[in-house]
């Protein structure tokens, strides 16, 4: 049975694993390979190394090698601690006419110290693990995690737990099938298996598209993001509504005041007429006079206050204060105010040649000169004289007190004139009332107009706010529309995923039935007519005479069921089996052998010498060569 699209292994070469080497050379043109190996010669190791290579990508390989229940197990050789070591696992295989070479190189040392310190670890001090995959002798070469991606595409990695079969795996399936608590492991395996590859690919593409959209939009594309925008739009709408209400309220107030203004203006007009009609001229005059008198009163008071204020400030300045103190001192010393003599005049009299009185032009004799000299003692210091004669300044501003006083007096005179004039007027109470009412109305009009101005300002501010909010709302609506469009694509993706999910469900039941039927047929062939098998979503049971139970079949039957289950789960054709016969009864060995031959285009068996009876003959194996430098190896 040959199939060029199926995978066929051509060699498996292990060098430097714990200091040991293994090599299995396979002839790709032949279907069955039987390697007869004693116990502890690397059968299980080989299977576990292959699982490690296929199941774990380069970046996740360290610490994930399992061996004989040790998890993790070491790869480096502990007989040569702290020495640089290298373990190379090379696997050659072909598919669809292409040759592949997978290679995992692990470099590092073994540290006894680390092994003793670390309870769950190993002594491996891994320096590097590197994977390469070479296709068609170097026409394509891949490295790193990409290697595992390709193994996935070739379906080697997802099937590694099934086509690499050993006692441990068989026990695992038997346990799953026998223990209700463990049956979920079977369910998980079945669920993976019953998902057609096509569906997984479609789902992957949909996820990629979804990621493209989220990358473009960030969190905004989420339903929550859209809800946030939608809520923001509603908030803005509410704000606009509130602002419009406030605007209407202000406009109503303006209307009310305008009506009042109009009403008052009419009233003022009426009053004006009435005032004119009732000797209003005199009333007007009196009113004007009263206004002027009041204004004058205020002005006079203000000027007085100004003079007093300024004088106090001038007098309280440090310079003037000192001068005043000097004057007071002078008065205390001399008992009188200083004479207003001028020192410069005395100097002129005494210094002229001959000394002459500058006032009477008479020449001064010695006696007169002495008298004039004595005058100096009576003369006040120069700066006191200056103070008495100088104009008052403050901050470079001249204060002419006399002038100010004069103005106040003029105002007072005018005030008295006005009062006199007012007293001369004779107004009736009725006329006075009219004028008062008119003035009140005018005042009210001014108040209303001022309020109208304020309200109009408010209306303008609100209008500008409304405009701003409308613009913001428009932008958000635009964004929301855009998001909605993206949302449509996302919803369509979700709906496509849902369709795939439903399809998976629909296919699942049918596929489980198909697997169940084929398992039944295979078990029936190997174990005999009484036996059958049944797979459901939560059980894998062997049946004898239509009685399905986890205790049916004994070890031999369960092992056969495990084989068949593994075969139904793998997606690649070869099968590599460690110790294939084990406890299987002699009576069914031949049938199992035939079953394996017809089910796999390539079967690689790592047998103990004791397993050959009743099992090997149907294989008609070619002689194969096992290279193992240290272990004794049987060759068929």
């Amino acid at each position: 049975m040959k199939n060029s699209s199926s995978i066929r292994f051509s060699y498996i070469d292990v060098e430097g694993y714990r200091g040991r080497n293994f090599k299995l050379d396979l002839d790709p043109s032949k279907s069955q390979h039987v390697f007869v190996m004693d116990g502890n010669t690397g059968k299980t190791t080989l299977i576990e190394l292959l699982r490690w290579c296929f199941n774990y990508k380069e970046s996740n390989a360290e610490g994930n090698f399992r061996h004989m229940f040790a998890d993790p197990a070491h790869v480096m050789d502990w007989d040569f601690p702290d020495e640089e070591q290298e373990c190379i696992i090379e696997i050659g295989f072909s598919k669809k006419g292409q040759d592949y070479v997978f290679k995992r190189t692990t470099k590092g040392t073994y540290s006894i110290e680390k092994d003793q310190e670390d309870e769950k670890g190993t002594g491996d001090m891994i320096e590097s693990i590197s994977d390469t995959l070479e296709i068609d002798r170097g026409s394509e070469v891949y490295q790193g995690d990409k290697v595992n991606e390709i193994l996935n595409e070739l379906r080697i990695s997802p099937s590694a737990d099934y086509f690499l079969f050993d006692g441990e795996r068989a026990r695992e399936y038997m346990l799953y099938a026998s223990d209700k608590k463990e049956v979920h492991n079977l369910v998980e395996a079945i669920n993976k298996r019953v998902t057609p590859r096509r569906l997984t690919t479609y789902k992957q593409k949909l996820n990629e598209l979804q990621k493209r959209i989220y990358d473009e939009l960030g969190s905004k594309a989420s339903k929550q993001g859209q809800t946030r925008i939608f809520n923001k739009i509603n908030d803005i709408k509410r704000e606009i509504k509130k602002a419009e209400k406030e605007k209407t309220d202000f406009e109503d107030e303006i209307k009310i005041r305008r009506r009042k203004v109009l009403e008052f203006e009419n009233r003022v007009e009426e009053l004006d007429k009435k005032i004119i009609d009732s000797k209003s001229e005199e009333l007007e005059k009196r009113h004007d006079l009263e206004k002027k008198i009041n204004t004058l009163k205020t002005e006079i008071a203000s000027k007085r206050e100004n003079i007093i204020g300024n004088l106090l400030e001038i007098l309280s300045s440090e310079k003037n204060f000192n001068l005043i103190e000097d004057i007071k001192e002078n008065i205390r010393e001399k008992g009188r105010l200083p004479e207003p003599y001028r020192e410069d005049l005395i100097d002129i009299c005494l210094n002229s040649d001959p000394p002459t009185c500058e006032i009477c032009d008479r020449e001064l004799d010695e006696e007169s000169k002495e008298k004039v000299k004595k005058l100096r003692e009576q003369v006040a210091p120069h700066d006191i004289q200056n103070f008495l004669t100088a104009e008052v300044h403050k901050d470079n501003k001249k204060y002419d007190m006399g002038e100010l006083n004069k103005k106040i007096n003029e105002d007072l005179e005018e005030y008295e004139d006005l009062v006199g004039e007012l007293e001369s007027l004779d107004l009736s109470e009725k006329e006075e009332k009219l004028i008062n009412e008119r003035d009140e109305k005018r005042e009210k009009i001014r108040e209303f107009e001022s309020e109208i101005g304020d309200y109009e300002g408010e209306v303008e501010a609100i209008e500008s706010l409304i405009e701003e909010k409308k613009e913001e709302k428009k932008e958000l609506e635009k964004k929301s529309k855009m998001l909605k469009q993206y949302r449509m694509v996302l919803d369509e993706i979700e709906s496509a995923k849902e369709a795939i999910q439903i399809t998976k469900g629909e296919i699942k039941d049918e596929t489980i039935d198909i697997i169940s039927d084929t398992l039944a047929e295979s078990v029936n062939y190997i174990l005999g007519d009484d036996f059958s098998a049944r797979l459901t979503e939560d059980s894998l049971l062997l049946g004898q005479n239509d009685r399905f139970h986890r205790e049916v079949g004994g070890m031999s039957g369960k092992l056969i069921l495990s084989y068949c289950f593994a075969e139904s789960m793998t997606e690649v054709n070869p099968m590599i089996i460690d110790t294939p016969v084990g406890n299987i009864d002699d009576s069914v060995r031949e049938k199992l052998s035939e079953h394996l031959i017809t089910n796999h285009n390539q079967i690689i068996l790592l047998c103990l010498p004791t397993e050959l009876d009743y099992f090997i003959d149907p294989m008609n194996p070619q002689k194969e060569y096992v290279e193992n430098k240290e272990e004794v190896t049987w060759l068929l």
Binding site: M1, R193, V194, P196, R197, R198, L199, Y202, K205, L206, L209, R212, I213, E216, F230, E477, S480, K481, K484, Q485, Y486, M488, V489, E492, I493, S495, A496, A499, I500, I502, T503, E506, I507, E510, T511, I514, I515, D517, T518, L519, E521, S522, Y525, C564, E567, S568, T570, E571, N573, K591, E594, H595, T598, N599
Partner: protein, 66 residues
């Protein structure tokens, strides 16, 4: 020994599953543009904007929800 029975284990499972999936999805793809493009292996040729346009053309623009 029934060769057909043993072949069924892998071949039947794989082939029937794939055929069945294709049949079911072919019916569903008519209602979903994206699924149709994915199944026809055309999805990579479209930008997100083009997909939006295509969906709007086929389904019509959604009204803004007040």
């Amino acid at each position: 020994m029934s060769e057909a029975a043993t072949v069924n284990i892998k071949k039947q499972v794989n082939e029937i599953m794939e055929q069945k999936a294709k049949k079911i999805l072919n019916e569903k793809k008519e209602q979903n543009i994206i699924l149709k493009l994915v199944m026809n292996e055309e999805i990579e040729n479209y930008s997100v904007d083009e997909l939006k346009e295509k969906i709007i053309n086929e389904k019509g623009e959604l009204e803004y929800e007040e």
